[in-house]
């Protein structure tokens, strides 16, 4: 276990390093003159020179990189090239929207995907099972923007149950309103990601329905349901867990589009705005934070899987 943990930790650290190098190198080296790009085509040579000084572009690239990463450890992510504001506090504020959104989306995806997936498998020979599987296939193919638009059309415009867009200005000062603002966005992501989880849950459950140990459990006196719940579903849960690693990353990335659609002040929307402004210092930190979250989730899921799966424990120890 220790050896696995150290190895996986090393992969995480190397992953973060590679991510930071790719992001940094792509943003600094590829476009040629960063200062020129940021300043725009209308700028005078003097403006470009001033910006170059401000960015510290005269220094060797390695020093610039070390400066960025060193700041990262001190909680200093530099300043915006456009507004001059510090990046770290703004990013923290935006995360207070994006992380709850991702959490709620995950909850929605699990609540929708897992029970329906098991149901679809149990009803495999009936119409109900086929209908659930068909709908899941269709929903999983839907562009997330469209899912959001339809939910807005239904729940906000037609039924007036929930606010269509926006987030309270004082953030979580009024938890009820902030929560209500996140319900539709979370349902949007949750429906689409939930459909994917449903499909995995269904095929994993189909796999255990006829597994020898479940059949034996039923044969020695448990009801079919008891046998499935006690002896089948634990291994289904492990499958869902390993899919979650990918899906949680999907949730975070899905937030980029959904925050735009619902006008939520989260990291995704911040990224979209800053990419448009070519605010290099902000974009590099936002991308690293988002990628870092994805890598961390992957790490956590791997470790959890290792702890929970007895086959893995025994096979390697």
């Amino acid at each position: 276990m220790t050896r696995f943990l150290l190895g996986r930790l090393l992969l995480l650290v190397v992953g973060l390093f590679v991510a930071s190098v790719i992001v940094f190198a792509t943003l600094r080296v590829l476009p040629g003159d960063v200062a020129q790009v940021v300043a725009g085509t209308q700028s005078s040579p003097a403006q470009v020179e001033a910006l170059r000084q401000q960015l510290g572009l005269g220094r060797p690239v390695v020093v610039q990189y070390a400066d960025w990463i060193g700041g990262l450890f001190r909680g200093d992510l530099g300043r915006s090239l456009v507004t001059g504001g510090a990046v770290a506090p703004e990013l923290a504020e935006k995360l207070s929207v994006t992380l709850p959104l991702a959490g709620m989306s995950l909850a929605a995806a699990l609540v929708l995907g897992v029970p329906l997936g098991v149901l679809a498998a149990v009803l495999r020979r009936r119409a109900g099972g086929a209908v659930i599987a068909f709908v899941a296939q269709a929903v999983a193919a839907v562009p997330i923007v469209w899912a959001g638009l339809l939910l807005i059309a239904l729940f906000a415009v037609t039924l007036h149950w929930l606010p269509p867009q926006g987030f309270p200005l004082d953030g979580w000062g009024e938890p009820g309103r902030a929560f209500a603002a996140l319900v539709l966005p979370a349902l949007t992501i949750g429906a689409v990601e939930g459909a994917v989880i449903l499909r995995f849950t269904r095929s994993a459950t189909l796999g255990v329905l006829d597994a020898d140990h479940v059949r034996t459990a039923a044969a020695i006196g448990l009801s079919r349901t008891q046998a499935l719940v006690r002896h089948g579903l634990p291994s289904v849960a492990l499958t869902v867990l390993s899919v979650l690693g990918v899906q949680i990353a999907g949730l975070l990335v899905g937030a980029v589009v959904v925050e735009q659609l619902f006008s939520l002040p989260g990291v995704g929307r911040m990224l979209v705005t800053d990419v448009g402004r070519r605010d290099v210092t902000k974009v590099q930190s936002e991308l690293l934070v988002l990628t870092g979250l994805v890598l961390l989730v992957g790490f956590a899921v791997d470790v959890l899987h290792r702890v929970l799966d007895p086959r893995q424990r025994e096979a390697h120890e």
Partner: protein, 332 residues
């Protein structure tokens, strides 16, 4: 193989939808009912009619014509991404299996890391540098899936290389090139096709997402994603107007991911040679999402899909661990 593909309803659906898409794209090159870009301030939001089959939008554009012109963008993005993904995937696979040992192992670790980068974030990174364009969409999806293909291929090639028939072929004097062309390539091809169809499905979703964000197709290119963005503004007034482009995208993405499932089922020898009953009453493998679901997850591909595990994988505990938890796809 084609016959086996068409023996399944999902295969027929996929082939019909994708065939229709290509035909419509070709037709749109020479004919659309109206000029897809002509705006008409006196014809905003007109209902369906003989002249405007699906009505007009906020600027009086003919929705049917614009949808039709959008097929070109969709086909172009899907094919372009698939092409780049194939090239990148094949090159990386070659580097990862034919070079010196340390290069191979370095490549393996690098692939493990790179496969975790979400496609949409790659696209945003490239957009920050080069500005938004369809080219950026195509390149980012192509790169992401090239890495995924190489990573999935690694496991598969290793499995095939260790299999009895390859060992037997070697023992009977078949050279490395013979093993490659006669055994490795034909056996890895289905997996490759599955990943390719997932890459194309992802490309269509990514184009929609990025065009929606304003970083995909320019205003001079008809795109279903930009259409969603345009119609979003009017969701309060004409809530159901966005139905058309969304349905079109969903149809194409579903067809592409079903094509992946159908190709896998049609070519998997374990399914076509009577071993089917060994599954769970015919319900195990064939129903599983190919390689991590339609374009969104694509968890390291078919080897990691819960039902995609072969007998070899089964003993390894369903192959979770670092294998299963990478490759976030696009959620565009």
């Amino acid at each position: 193989m084609i016959r086996r593909l068409l023996a399944r309803p999902t295969g027929v659906f996929a082939v019909v939808v994708l065939g229709l898409l290509v035909v419509l794209a070709l037709v749109s090159l020479v004919w659309t009912p109206q000029d897809p870009f002509r705006t008409d301030p006196f014809r905003q939001w007109s209902g369906p009619s003989a002249a405007h089959w699906f009505g007009t939008d906020a600027s009086g554009r003919d929705i049917a014509s614009y949808l039709l012109a959008g097929t070109r963008t969709t086909v172009l993005v899907a094919v372009g991404s698939g092409f780049i993904a194939s090239v990148v995937g094949i090159v990386l696979t070659a580097v990862g299996s034919l070079t010196a040992r340390w290069v191979r192992e370095g490549t393996a670790v690098l692939l493990d890391i790179l496969v975790a980068f979400p496609t949409l974030l790659t696209a945003m990174l490239l957009t920050a540098v080069f500005g938004g364009s369809l080219g950026v969409v195509v390149v980012s999806v192509g790169l992401s899936f090239g890495v995924t293909i190489a990573r999935v291929a690694r496991g598969e090639i290793r499995r095939i290389a260790r299999s009895d028939f390859v060992v037997a072929a070697r023992a009977s004097g078949v050279g490395p090139l013979g093993v490659l062309t006669r055994h490795l390539v034909p056996n890895a091809a289905p997996l490759f096709t599955v990943q390719l169809s997932l890459a194309m499905a992802t490309a269509v979703l990514a184009e929609a997402g990025l065009s929606y964000l304003g970083y995909g197709a320019g205003s001079d290119t008809a795109s279903w994603g930009s259409m969603l963005a345009d119609l979003q503004t009017y969701v309060g007034v004409h809530p159901w107007s966005a139905a058309w482009p969304g349905a079109a995208i969903a149809l194409v993405v579903a067809a592409l991911s079903l094509l992946g499932d159908a190709v896998r089922d049609a070519t998997d020898p374990r399914l076509t040679t009577g071993d089917r009953a060994a599954g769970s009453g015919g319900g195990g493998r064939p129903d599983g999402p190919a390689g991590g679901g339609p374009a969104r997850g694509s968890a390291g591909g078919a080897t990691d899909a819960p039902t995609g595990g072969s007998a070899v994988r089964g003993t390894a505990g369903g192959a979770p661990g670092s294998d299963a938890t990478t490759t976030p796809g696009v959620t565009a």
